[in-house]
């Protein structure tokens, strides 16, 4: 089955093409086709995962060289190693759940079929990105997921906020993609190949100078910063929540934003060659994670809280991968790589579940504001428990999946005090804001009785995916239990397989941190023994800073957007005055030049033509005197010419005169005679006319 990996991305593509061209008028058929294709892809992915379990150390590679030059090759191909296999299963699982869920969530939407077409296109791009075997191909699919993300965020483009959000998401990720592109160019120039294997071999061989390696790694990381919403390009992800909730679950929680993490994990052999680049990765991950978690503490929009949570968790993974690269570059062992990819997998399940649960809640109460909810646990018998399972999982509570992966990240950070404190603080904040969300949404008294009365549990095709993902949120982490001899760590690894060993102290600490976060939320929002408002009042400055998301949007507005707009205005003025002026000036010159040419044409060219006519006409005006019509005149003319000829002969032959004077005088006389005849003719005609009138 592994040889047929290339079919996995093509299945959703097939669904996309079929929906766009044939079945879009049959809505349910479109949805079913799309679900059938992703389920088929899911089955194939599971089979491939099982096959890959049997051959961990020999990745399967298949490639077609579509540009084959002596020094340069571009390939399109697939690479199946454990990382790919895990990502395939994650993407297809969440994808299938989201598509089934969407049938319920999007029902009655006027663009129902289009939604499924976009979802299928996205899954095609994402799966293509996962199976790619070279940087060139991953970049193509990288841009394709960016495009589909744009289309899906702006799916309800009638809303101005959605239209703005999709533009913001696209443009912000482009900034990172530009860096990625530069990184690709560096790889192309210095390594001469895009194939992962080739690039990593050259990177590890030490041929390339360290500075180049660091620069290339950091530029490639730029792509991940944009796509995975890392600081300083994180601003687009919370706004991306304007899209439909299934989209947020699939793209902006579980898969596309994880593509950045996947890219870093995939390029890990590049990062381990440069401690500096890895340190940059780790620091950016820590900053992002801490910043996003702290913003999440005070937000009120259910999806935005989850969005900041996503940013924070992605920062976590990135940090773990960066620490791994840093440690490995210095020759230490580290669980970072395994921790990052492990968390990537578990996070996809529980964050997908959280978003789908949030969608279910929004579907029931038609608002995003958690201050207007409350007590929903009584009404939503399936959504509430599954949501709480996911919240426990993300808070890192034993023995749910989040606990195991988060524990490994803490273990990876444990050698560095700053990172250790940071990760624990983030874990505490995560537990707090997730359970703040849970308590405000599902417990207590309803704060909006009208909305509460109309709330209802969602249909089965929405709740069943929740249950399925809840099971995964509990169990998915068990593949990486530190007590299993051949667990996740020996399956997905880089370099040498890492054997995790249970560090009970760290486990206890992270568990206590998580529980204390939940307990604080319990005190503040359930028992209300600590007043949230009083806390907000006490730390007013901090609260405002967090509530306004560190003013990043405002800073970008002032620092980037306003100057760009001002520059654009300047350019517009330049355009309107100089470019348009040049164009109009050219037009004006052309008109003037053609005026000159018109004058030339009228007077010189036409003048020449008319002049020829005029000369002929004037010559004829003289000569036509001869043509009097009077035959006696002709007879006279002949007689005169005969006499003239005789005279000439006489003068030249007999009198031997060089200059026949008499003849010339005679000719002049005859001409005079002709003119006189002409005048008499006119007079004659005039007379005739008057005669006729009389």
């Amino acid at each position: 089955m592994t040889e047929y990996t290339f079919l996995i991305p093509l299945l959703p593509l097939f669904a996309f093409i079929m929906i766009v061209f044939f079945t879009r008028w049959k809505e349910m058929f479109s949805a079913l086709l799309s679900i059938a294709m992703i389920l088929a892809a899911w089955v194939m992915s599971v089979v491939i995962l099982i096959e890959t379990l049997g051959r961990i150390d020999e990745p399967f590679q298949w490639a077609y060289k579509f540009v084959n030059l002596p020094n340069f090759v571009l390939e399109i191909g697939t690479l199946v190693d454990p990382l790919t296999a895990v990502m395939l299963v994650v993407v297809t699982t969440v994808g299938a759940c989201v598509e089934i869920y969407s049938v319920g969530y999007m029902h009655n939407d006027p663009r129902f079929s289009r939604f499924f077409a976009y979802l299928s296109l996205f899954l095609f791009s994402m799966l293509g990105l996962v199976v790619a075997n070279n940087f060139f191909m991953i970049f193509i699919f990288w841009e394709l997921v960016g495009l589909t993300s744009y289309l899906l965020i702006g799916f309800w483009f009638e809303k101005k906020s959605a239209a703005d959000a999709c533009k913001k998401a696209f443009i912000t990720t482009r900034v990172g993609d530009l860096g990625f592109l530069v990184g690709l160019f560096m790889i192309g120039i210095y390594f001469g190949t895009f194939n992962y294997g080739g690039v990593f071999e050259i990177a590890g061989s030490g041929v390339i100078p360290a500075g180049i390696l660091t620069a290339a790694a950091i530029f490639v990381f730029c792509g991940a910063v944009g796509k995975s919403a890392q600081w300083p390009l994180h601003v687009w992800l919370p706004d991306a929540m304007e899209g439909p909730t299934p989209v947020s679950a699939l793209i902006h929680a579980a898969t596309m934003v994880a593509a950045g993490v996947y890219l870093v994990a995939r390029s890990m052999p590049l990062f381990v060659t440069s401690a500096e680049a890895s340190l940059v990765v780790a620091i950016i991950g820590l900053i992002t994670s801490f910043m996003a978690a702290s913003i999440g503490l005070v937000q009120n929009d259910i999806k935005r809280i989850l969005a900041y949570s996503t940013v924070s968790q992605l920062g976590y993974m990135i940090m773990a991968l960066g620490l791994y690269g840093y440690d490995t570059a210095q020759g230490h062992h580290s669980p970072g790589f395994y921790a990052g990819t492990f968390h990537l997998m578990t996070h996809a399940f529980f964050k997908g579940l959280l978003f789908l649960g949030a969608g279910s809640v929004i579907h029931a109460v038609h608002t995003n504001d958690i201050q207007e909810m409350g007590g929903l646990a009584r009404k939503m018998k399936l959504t509430a428990p599954t949501f709480m399972i996911a919240s426990l999982s993300i808070a890192g509570i034993f023995p749910l999946s989040g606990f195991w992966s988060k524990d490994e990240i803490v273990a990876a950070a444990s050698h560095y005090p700053i990172f250790l404190i940071g990760t624990l603080a983030i874990a505490f904040m995560t537990a707090f804001y997730m359970w703040r969300l849970c308590f405000l949404t599902f417990f207590g008294e309803p704060r909006d009785q009208h909305r509460f009365d109309h709330a209802h549990e969602s249909p089965k095709n929405m709740t069943y995916p929740l249950v399925f993902l809840a099971v995964l949120s509990i169990c998915a982490g068990w593949v990486g239990l530190p007590w299993i001899h051949k667990g996740f760590a020996t399956f997905v690894y880089h370099g040498e397989a890492y054997e995790p060993h249970a560090n009970y102290l760290l486990m206890a600490i992270s568990l206590i941190v998580g529980l204390s976060g939940i307990y604080l939320a319990y005190l503040m929002y359930y028992k209300k023994s600590i007043s949230a408002d009083a806390m907000a009042e006490k730390f007013k400055g901090l609260y405002k800073l967090l509530y306004n998301k560190y003013y990043f949007d405002e800073i970008y507005q002032k620092v980037v957007i306003d100057p760009v707009m001002a520059f654009a205005g300047l350019m517009w003025k330049f355009d309107a005055n100089v470019i348009d002026g040049a164009v109009n000036g050219t037009g004006w010159l052309t008109i003037k030049w053609s005026d000159i040419k018109e004058w030339f044409d009228t007077w010189i060219v036409d003048g020449a033509v008319n002049g020829c006519g005029w000369v002929v006409r004037q010559g004829a005006n003289i000569l036509r005197f001869m043509q009097t019509g009077s035959m006696q005149f002709y007879a006279l003319f002949i007689a005169v010419l005969v006499v003239l000829f005789g005279l000439y002969k006489f003068e030249v032959k007999f009198l031997k005169i060089g200059w026949p004077t008499v003849t010339i005088i005679f000719i002049l006389g005859v001409t005079l005679l002709a003119l006189l005849t002409r005048i008499t003719q006119i007079k004659f005609k005039a007379n005739r006319r008057t005669d006729g009138e009389e």
Partner: protein, 100 residues
């Protein structure tokens, strides 16, 4: 010795030419043309008599001219007849329409 003959022919020719150029009546023009023909005939005969005595070439030519003049007079009179039909007159002024 042949001067009187040539003088006669020249006078006759000039009278004919004058007639052709000045007569308005087409019949008169035709008659003047006959005078010119006859002046030429006299010349031919004179030259045959005094200059080219080896044969009767001049006389022969004069007789040919008489014949041709008769044919020409027929054609000319036919034209005159048509002129009369079309213009109800035979003055040359009437037929001066073939001009610019």
């Amino acid at each position: 010795m042949m001067l009187p003959y040539l003088a006669l022919a020249a006078i006759l020719f000039s009278i004919g030419l004058f007639g052709v150029l000045t007569r308005r009546n087409t019949i008169g023009i035709l008659m003047s043309l006959e005078l010119m023909f006859n002046a030429v005939n006299i010349n031919f005969v004179t030259f045959n008599k005094f200059i080219w005595t080896d044969g009767l070439v001049g006389q022969m030519f004069a007789i040919f001219i008489v014949v041709v003049a008769a044919a020409e007079a027929v054609v000319g009179l036919a034209i005159v007849l048509l002129l009369y039909r079309n213009w109800q007159g035979i003055d040359t002024d009437h037929v001066s329409v073939m001009k610019w």
